[in-house]
């Protein structure tokens, strides 16, 4: 390599190099138009820039659709400028001067990565390459055998090349790697035999076991989390998240401040307990009702889409029939016209063709009109049933929230009574001796205590209202989005369909018109 350094100046990838590389890939007998088009930088999928003495990777960002990139046998020192090439599947950076693995995080589709013969000393920064199947990092500067354990996270890895690294000379190198990477099929160009894998697993049991356990734990945790998340998502879809328990009740009584002290008043504790029980049971019924309704809504939506697809399928079949009928006739006519494109017969044929295209147009448009009418009807029905579902749901949950409010009001009245009684006692100086000290301070001023109680009451009411309005607005949002999506889809479909019919007609017409007389040889 050093010889190159002395003789030739190192390069940076520029447009000229790129252009050359692209042109090299073109097949020789490619037509002119095709050739011009395939040089279009956006459509290039493969490129090879080898032995070009490249020092720095740059200017590759316009090659959006690149899937295969070869940059081997250059003098690259740093992996950079590849972030935008997210479709890369195959990346060859072998025979360069790279020291650190980096800059590959965005290349999540990468399946084959070669870093053979570089100066890398650590395997790192590859967590996102979950698709990686073939990894070559032979002839590098890897010294720590334990570093191989890092590759355990690449679940798809099947082929690995580590040969030529310093740690390869260590005793049991191969067994160690096989034991820690049980999914490997090939290691250092050799098949991993079952017997080897078995022996390795046995030998390094003490090392791999804890690793496996740890991984299993992480996995289990992850799964649990996922399940929880999924459940929550489902509840959210049903608009009843955090209603299957005392969550709402507890949230009402957060941030109570001074009012929380009232709980220690004689009798309030019991009241609160009873209140909580009732409140939670209302919440539970609300939750169950919400889930039920959710199922109903889903069923209604899927019913609609089933019917929609049925209609569309029939439409498709019918139009297919019409078009294929037409096409068989059209094809023979066109062939005949190509054979003999002039004369009276040809003219009459052309007129006939025109006529038939008109007929086809009529047939397709009629079909489209009929179908879109029927779909419109279906959509209206769907809208009506959505309205019914949403309004009954709204009514019922409003009723349940009213129950909650009643409970809160009742509780407030009860507490107020107790407070009044105590105030009375204070006024008459009949208060018990063991009355808590901090409460005594609270009750010093009559207005403060009443205020505290009523404020906390109104806060709670507001919280209930908020939950209710959340639910209602969610319901409304759902109703609106589902409806609009359905309507939007249909109108899009209708539009594209008509556009396509027009386009189809144009093409057919052009084809017919442009049949020219075959030059007689």
């Amino acid at each position: 390599m050093t010889q190159f350094f002395n003789n030739i100046e190192p390069n940076v990838i520029d447009d000229e190099i790129l252009q050359k590389a692209i042109e090299e890939k073109c097949p020789e007998d490619l037509g002119d138009i095709a050739r011009k088009e395939s040089i279009n930088i956006k459509v290039v999928t493969e490129i090879q820039i080898s032995f070009k003495n490249i020092l720095q990777i740059a200017n590759l960002w316009p090659l959006e659709n690149l899937t295969k990139l070869q940059l081997d046998n250059n003098v690259i020192e740093k992996i950079e400028g590849l972030e935008s090439l997210v479709h890369l599947v195959w990346l060859d950076l072998s025979f360069n001067n790279i020291e650190v693995i980096e800059g590959l995080d965005t290349l999540v589709k990468l399946q084959d990565l070669s870093l053979y013969s570089n100066r890398i000393s650590t395997i790192e920064h590859m967590d996102t390459l979950q698709e990686l199947q073939i990894f070559s990092i032979g002839n590098n500067n890897l010294t720590m055998l334990e570093n191989v354990i890092y590759l355990r996270r690449l679940k798809s890895l099947q082929t690995l090349n580590l040969s030529g690294n310093p740690f390869c000379s260590e005793e049991h190198y191969r067994l160690f790697v096989v034991a820690h990477l049980p999914s490997l099929v090939y290691l250092d160009f050799k098949l991993v035999r079952k017997s080897t894998a078995k022996a390795a697993a046995l030998k390094y049991q003490h090392l791999t076991k804890p690793l496996e356990e740890e991984e299993a734990q992480v996995l289990a945790l992850q799964e649990e989390e996922d399940a929880k998340q999924k459940e929550l998502e489902q509840q959210q879809a049903a608009f009843v998240e955090y209603l299957n328990g005392p969550f709402l009740f507890d949230s009402l009584h957060e941030e109570e401040g001074e009012a929380a002290k009232l709980v220690s008043l004689p009798g309030v504790e019991e009241l609160l307990q009873a209140y909580k029980e009732e409140f939670v049971s209302v919440c539970e019924s609300l939750y169950n009702y919400g889930l039920e309704e959710y199922e109903k809504r889903e069923a209604e939506v899927s019913k609609f889409y089933k019917r929609l697809h049925e209609i569309l399928a029939v439409n498709q079949e019918e139009s297919k029939r019409i078009i294929s009928d037409f096409e068989t006739r059209n094809e023979t006519r066109l062939d005949e016209l190509y054979q003999d494109g002039s004369g009276e017969i040809a003219d009459s044929k052309r007129a006939q063709g025109k006529e038939e295209i008109q007929q086809l147009w009529h047939a397709l448009m009629l079909l489209e009109t009929l179908v879109s009418n029927d779909l419109e009807e279906l959509l209206q029905d769907f809208k009506r049933s959505l309205d019914v579902i949403a309004s009954t749901f709204t009514e019922n949950i409003q009723g349940m929230f009213n129950q909650c409010r009643d409970l809160e009001n009742q509780h407030f009245e009860n507490v107020m009574e107790i407070v009044q009684a105590i105030l009375k006692k204070i006024a008459l100086f009949e208060l018990e001796e063991d009355f808590p000290e901090d409460l005594r301070a609270l009750f010093e001023d009559k207005i403060t205590v009443v205020n505290i109680t009523s404020v906390s009451h109104s806060i709670r009411l507001r919280k209930i209202d908020k939950r209710e309005s959340d639910m209602l607005s969610n319901t409304y949002q759902w109703q609106k989005s589902v409806r609009e999506k359905a309507f939007q889809r249909e109108s899009d479909r209708n539009r594209t369909c008509i556009e396509k019919i027009i386009c189809f007609m144009d093409t057919l017409q052009k084809e017919l018109d442009s049949t020219v007389v075959k030059p007689k040889e």
Binding site: D29, H309, V314, Q316, K320, D374, K500, T507
Partner: protein, 731 residues
């Protein structure tokens, strides 16, 4: 003994009287002709000539217990005739082959034969119906005066309906079924084993499930053409006028059809015996009848059964006390119900209720009977164990074959190995009731080495269809053809699971070949190939390749692959080999109606057309404006073209392979048909080996014969049957 003889004498007169009366009756009705016709078919067998000397002593005498039993039975009979004077005498103790009176229950000898099929009622029933030759009753309206032991019946392989029923009942009870012999009345067809009015069970189609048109199924409602209201009215009027005449015609037809089956003057009087199987034991879900002549099961509500007098098995005897005016439809088969069934020997653990209809004067007798019967136990059967050797079991047909005539159909059955081609059954379907014009012939085979199990010959379409069991070396499932000549229209079905290419059906004619696939990874499901005509001059070359039909077009159809976007998922590929055009049609998304297409063409000798783009110097491509972006990429198209060209080459080879395979199949089939081999189970007994040896001998002889006989087509009736298929295939 003396007492018995006396009784016989006593009973003789009424029977004689009845039979006399009946014979008069018969004369009157001029039924002789019919009787004669039935008999003329069968060579009369003289039962009096049978040898009874070797029979064991239990056949010739009655034990003490049996005598007591007969006494009791007589007692019962007397009471019965006293109580029900207008009913016919019961069939209780007929004479056996040695002239000794035996109680019917002791004639039933429960036996389980050591063959797997005989563990099930259907096996027993078909064995009995196949093994015995049916004899009509001497007098169709009275039960026979004698009932022979099942062993004798099995020995001589013939008997009347009572003999059939007793034998079948013995086998069924032996196999654990709750079975009973029934003495009753049935229709003429049933009694005379005349099935010509019935549809052959082989031809009975399973009740077709009405394809339910979903009323909500979406249909495109095209606006109808405007029509003149007046014209419609006029039309309706005309139709109405035409209607009455049509209806009249129809009525006439209906009347004709009703009259067709002859009214039987003895309807309801014809005595028949059959078998009743009660539900419960052996997991029988529902009570049913078995007609022993045919071995078919019938519902207890079947209209062919017109009434029941009594039933019995090896344990007891019951008299039916229910009204049979409506046939057996409304009968209850709860035998413990004493209002419905009068039991002869009440079970000891039960408190038998006296029938209320019995008048007072008989109570004493009844009580007396009860006293005796409670201590009474049915004696063991006097009949020897029924034995059927394996040779007899496997060759059940008394005349080598059995012929059953059905409505517009004829069924013939042979034992396995009886025919050299393995045929065991042949069903001929006729167009008319007189069985003159053959429509269809179905033949069933067994133990064939080539695994052929059925052959259908349709005389209308001239198509022959062979059906094979799984395991044929060529994986054949069915083969439809008119002749075994190549390229004459063949359809071959395969057991496709065993094939690598998933081919399950291929039909080939001289100009076309269609292949159907299933469960392929590339989702190909149909391939259609068009052939051109062979060029005349090519024959000079002589090689097989040169003689092949030119391939004009290959068309392939694929299912939708949900992993790909619809407009990149090919639905149809057309390779126009001669024009050098490749056309791809893509699938459609559900909301779409016009598929996108890509057409590749070679421009040599052909002008570039509108919309086509040069892909290389020789090749053009055409795509549509709505094609997927991918299909507007020239590089992609260029690569695709070369892939397709390579594939076209492979496809051509595949087609040639398919043709070769068809030729091979035909050659193999021809060879198999020319020398049919039958497989012999390794578990077969020495006797069977002997039989096989004899068959082989016969085969050799016949093959020699057939070579000699080629010129003279006529042969003896027997031999022509055995050679039937062999000659078929060679001619």
């Amino acid at each position: 003994m003396e007492a018995l003889e006396e009784k016989e004498e006593v009973e003789q007169p009424p029977e004689d009287v009845i039979s006399l009366r009946i014979s008069d009756f018969l004369d009157e009705l001029e039924l002789d002709a019919e009787q004669a016709s039935v008999r003329s078919n069968e060579t009369e067998f003289d039962w009096s000539s049978i040898d009874t000397s070797n029979l064991p002593s239990s056949y010739k005498t009655n034990s003490r217990q049996e005598k007591k039993l007969l006494q009791l039975a007589d007692h019962f009979l007397q009471q019965y005739s006293h109580l029900c004077p207008d009913r016919k005498p019961l069939f209780i103790h007929p004479l056996n082959e040695c002239g000794v009176q035996k109680f019917v229950s002791t004639t039933v000898r429960p036996t389980l034969l050591p063959y797997p099929d005989m563990y099930y009622w259907s096996g027993c029933a078909s064995f009995v119906s196949n093994y015995l030759i049916m004899e009509p009753l001497k007098c169709p309206i009275t039960p026979p005066s004698s009932l022979y032991s099942p062993t004798t019946i099995v020995k001589y392989q013939r008997g009347n309906c009572f003999d059939f029923s007793v034998l079948l009942c013995s086998l069924l009870v032996g196999a654990g079924y709750d079975a009973y012999c029934v003495h009753g009345y049935a229709t003429l067809e049933m009694c005379s084993m005349d099935q010509t009015q019935e549809v052959c069970p082989r031809l009975k189609k399973p009740p077709e499930e009405p394809v339910e048109e979903d009323p909500n199924k979406y249909k495109i409602k095209y606006p109808s053409e405007p029509k003149s209201q007046f014209e419609l009215q006029q039309k309706a009027k005309e139709e109405e006028e035409a209607k009455p005449t049509q209806e009249e015609e129809k009525e006439e037809e209906v009347v004709e059809e009703v009259e067709k089956p002859k009214r039987d003057s003895l309807h309801g009087l014809r005595v028949h015996a059959w078998v009743l199987v009660l539900s419960g034991k052996r997991k029988v879900p529902e009570t049913f009848f078995i007609n022993p002549f045919t071995g078919n099961s019938h519902s207890t509500k079947d209209e062919c059964f017109l009434g029941i007098e009594s039933i019995w098995n090896d344990k007891n005897y019951w008299v039916n006390m229910q009204d049979c005016r409506n046939g057996c439809k409304d009968l209850s088969f709860d035998l413990s119900n004493h209002f419905c069934w009068e039991i002869m020997f009440p079970e000891s653990n039960e408190d038998s209720q006296l029938p209320t209809e019995s008048p007072k004067d008989s109570t004493d007798d009844m009580q007396e009977k009860k006293k005796i019967s409670s201590s009474f136990e049915m004696p063991l059967s006097w009949v020897e164990r029924i034995k059927v050797s394996s040779q007899e079991y496997e060759n059940p047909f008394p005349r080598g074959k059995k012929v059953i005539l059905y409505d517009k159909a004829k069924q013939e059955k042979w034992a396995a190995y009886a025919n050299t081609d393995g045929m065991v059954e042949r069903l001929t379907v006729y167009a008319d009731s007189d069985r003159t014009e053959e429509l269809e012939v179905k033949e069933w085979f067994e133990h064939r080495k080539d695994l052929l199990y059925m052959r259908e010959v349709n005389h209308q379409t001239q198509l022959i269809t062979d059906h094979f069991n799984p395991g044929h070396p060529l994986l054949l499932k069915a083969h439809t053809y008119t002749s075994l000549e190549p390229e004459t229209g063949h359809t071959v079905e395969f057991y496709h699971k065993a094939r690598v290419d998933g081919l399950w059906k291929r039909s080939e004619t001289a100009t076309e070949m269609t292949e159907y696939f299933e469960e392929r990874e590339d989702l190909l499901h149909k391939r259609h190939i068009k052939f051109g005509e062979r060029e005349q001059g090519m024959e000079m070359a002589g090689t097989a390749e040169a003689n092949a039909r030119p391939i004009v077009q290959i068309r392939e159809y694929f299912h939708r692959n949900p992993k790909k976007p619809a407009d990149e998922d090919v639905e149809e590929r057309v390779f126009k080999v001669i024009d050098d055009v490749i056309q791809l049609t893509y699938h459609l998304e559900i909301y779409d109606i016009i598929p996108s297409k890509v057409v590749f063409a070679r421009v040599i000798g052909r002008e570039k057309r509108e919309g086509e783009v040069f892909l290389s110097r020789e090749n053009t491509v055409k795509y549509q404006p709505w094609s997927s972006e991918k299909h507007k990429n020239m590089r992609y198209l260029y690569n695709l073209l070369w892939e397709l060209r390579a594939e076209q080459k492979d496809l051509k080879q595949l087609v040639r392979d398919s043709e070769a395979e068809m030729l091979n199949i035909l050659a193999v089939r021809e060879n198999e048909e020319a020398n049919i081999k039958l497989a012999v189970s390794i578990y077969s007994t020495a006797q069977r080996d002997q039989r096989i040896a004899s068959i082989l001998e016969a085969e050799e002889r016949s093959s020699q014969n057939s070579s000699e006989k080629k010129s003279q087509q006529t042969g003896e009736e027997d031999e022509s049957v055995t050679q039937h298929t062999a000659t078929n295939s060679t001619t």
